[in-house]
């Protein structure tokens, strides 16, 4: 039996508690096992990004707990949380993913440098990752010289660089055309299969939803459905 990698228990988030309370996420329970490829879907304002941010330790829940690989991150002090994220969680955002002044190679290597990996090892890992996302010919290009799809592929490579337990992607294909989006999802699915990394991504893009093996639907901050499916 695969172990639980993400355990969100009774998770709630309320914004503007004192003025006009907005319940973005309400009493959500999610258990995700190692190696799953999960899509978090729902209409705009359903709480997908908020839930992802709380699972990733970027946002503090109003109540409830988040346990990643056995570590309750909701209780971690800020510096330890940053360190935990660095070693255990990879992020892919909708946009502004990369450091504009660094090349693709440097962007991917940046996380590894923060982890104090040796130069030789780092070099090897970065080239390997950029090869896996099909950007070996763009290693010295800066984000401004890459297309949106290529930038997202670099972001995926960076998210995977530290060999994290999970990768959280918030609407990764929102700004991409069909071809680039399909390409990116294929890469993510391949890495999920080969490297056994758990992927959880929020989306309302049908192309993405079809590729997922499990689809969790959020409506008004609550889990409306949680179904397994055969990816197409």
């Amino acid at each position: 039996m695969a172990k639980t990698i993400i355990d969100a228990h009774n998770l709630s988030k309320t914004y503007n508690k004192k003025i006009v309370p907005v319940k973005a996420v309400q009493n959500v329970h999610i258990h995700i096992e190692e190696g799953e490829f999960v899509a978090l879907v729902g209409p705009s304002g359903s709480g997908k990004s908020t839930l992802l941010n709380m699972i990733g330790g970027l946002d503090e829940p109003t109540s409830g707990t988040v346990i990643i690989d056995g570590v309750e991150i909701t209780n971690l002090p800020e510096n330890k949380l940053i360190d935990f994220r660095l070693h255990n969680i990879g992020f892919v955002f909708q946009s502004f993913n990369l450091i504009p002044v660094l090349t693709a190679k440097e962007n991917v290597g940046f996380v590894l440098q923060l982890q104090k990996m040796s130069k030789e090892e780092r070099e090897k890992r970065v080239l390997d990752l950029l090869h896996q996302v099909g950007l070996e010919d763009k290693i010295n290009s800066r984000p401004g010289e890459l297309s949106g799809g290529q930038q997202q592929r670099v972001a995926v490579a960076r998210a995977l660089a530290s060999k994290p337990k999970i990768v959280l992607a918030d609407e990764p294909t929102a700004n991409l055309d069909s071809k680039s989006a399909g390409n990116l999802l294929d890469i993510m699915a391949k890495l999920n299969k080969e490297e056994k990394i758990t992927f959880l991504f929020s989306t309302h893009d049908m192309r993405v939803i079809k590729k997922a093996r499990r689809v969790i639907t959020l409506v008004d901050g609550k889990v409306d459905s949680d179904v397994q499916q055969i990816p197409k």
Binding site: S49, N53, G56, L58, D59, E78, N79, I82, D83, R85, L86, H87, F91, F93, S95, F96, N97, I99, P100, V101, L102, E106, G109, F110, V111, Q113, L114, Q115, R158, S162
Partner: protein, 405 residues
């Protein structure tokens, strides 16, 4: 890599970075210029006072300055002068007989300080001959020749060769008078002194005052090197045990006040410049931080801790300062070197300044230590200015920052 990111970040918006670099260059340059100008101004004033009026050291009878009476003299003057002259640390030495009295022309009279000098020794001592504008410097060979200031000549309505009468009390406290003929009219850079100081032959004045030939009221010493001042002063004490020995700082305490006030103005002006620099940097760096909120949020999300975010913003300012400061130093040095040679003519204000002993030509000067103090102050100012923008970056919450448009 943080160093690399910070360095590249400053070139993302070249014009903005160039504005900050220019502010730093101007800040350093202006600081150097103001300091060098002020230092040039009061160095000029010190030089004028030391080399044209007081000399480095003066020796008097202990009560001469207080009583202002010619009867308080230093005896055995020739022996003392000879002994001091033999010391190779001393550049020039002269003895003076001094009295105060009235100078009268056919039309008016005025109070004066009468210096009985040995013309030759004063050439080496205060280069009095260089100040003569009309006539000659004691070359008539007559004992009743007098050298008066241009301003006094105007006041007395007299010209070269005019006759004047000096009236004063001798050592017996009897009123004596002597007729003198104007042999030269001088103009120094201190107009107020030109109106009161007159110079006559020492032997003649000594005779009128009924002093012995071995007596004088003042010994003036010019040292070869300012650093030897204290040593020469101590040596003089062994030669003239009963004399009151004072250096130029003690003789002219008002000069110290002028220097102090100049220092104060300098610090105030430098402070204003640095304050302007501070606001410039805060504004620019804050803009730079606020423009990058999403990026900073992303950096925090992927594992860059707040200490490193803070360091990155500080490094960006550090680099800007690192580029600006040496250029500011270079431009400052070039300005000081150039103007130090050709001088700055402030004749527009020279009438007023001359009454305080300032020349109308200012030669900016600054020692190397001050260059680095200014650069260091700018450096510290720049880094302090970056603290607020860096602190603002620390206040960011990664999830909120990422959501910002």
């Amino acid at each position: 890599m943080l160093f690399q990111i910070a360095w590249r970040n400053i070139w993302r918006n070249k014009s903005r970075s160039l504005v900050v670099i220019s502010s730093i260059i101007i800040g350093v340059w202006a600081g150097i210029f103001i300091l060098s100008f002020s230092w040039g101004m009061y160095k000029n004033n010190i030089d004028e006072t030391v080399f044209k009026q007081l000399s480095h050291i003066q020796i008097h009878h202990p009560t001469f300055i207080e009583e202002n009476d010619s009867k308080f003299t230093i005896s055995n003057i020739d022996t003392i002068v000879g002994q001091l002259q033999a010391d190779n640390r001393i550049a020039a030495i002269s003895s003076r007989v001094i009295s105060t009295g009235m100078i009268s022309s056919p039309t008016t009279a005025s109070g004066v300080k009468i210096y009985g000098i040995d013309p030759l020794s004063e050439v080496r001592q205060i280069a009095l001959d260089e100040s003569v504008r009309e006539g000659a410097y004691f070359n008539s060979g007559k004992e009743n020749e007098i050298l008066i200031g241009e301003k006094l000549a105007k006041k007395l309505k007299i010209k070269l060769k005019s006759k004047v009468v000096l009236t004063f009390t001798n050592v017996q406290s009897e009123l004596v008078s002597g007729a003198f003929r104007v042999g030269g009219i001088y103009r120094s850079k201190n107009i107020s002194l030109d109106e009161v100081n007159v110079y006559v032959q020492q032997d003649h004045l000594r005779e009128l005052l009924e002093l012995k030939t071995s007596e004088s009221n003042e010994i003036a010493i010019l040292v070869k090197d300012e650093e030897l001042l204290d040593a020469v002063k101590n040596y003089s004490r062994t030669v003239v045990s009963k004399g009151k020995i004072e250096d130029w700082k003690e003789l002219s305490p008002e000069l110290g006040i002028i220097i102090e006030s100049f220092n104060l103005y300098t610090y105030i002006l430098t402070g204003i410049i640095l304050l302007a620099l501070t606001f410039g940097i805060i504004n620019t760096m804050l803009m730079s931080v606020l423009e990058r909120i999403r990026e900073l949020g992303m950096l925090m999300a992927i594992g860059l801790n707040k200490r490193k975010i803070f360091l990155m913003i500080m490094l960006e300012t550090f680099y800007l300062t690192l580029v600006g400061s040496p250029l500011g130093l270079l431009f400052g040095w070039l300005t000081v070197t150039l103007l130090g040679q050709i001088g700055i003519n402030i004749s527009m204000f020279s009438e007023g300044l001359a009454s305080y002993g300032f020349s109308s030509m200012i030669y900016p000067a600054l020692d190397s230590q001050n260059y680095f103090i200014i650069a260091f102050m700018c450096f510290i100012t720049a880094l302090l200015s970056a603290i607020y923008p860096a602190y603002k970056a620390l206040q960011l919450n990664p999830s909120e920052a990422i959501r910002k448009i």
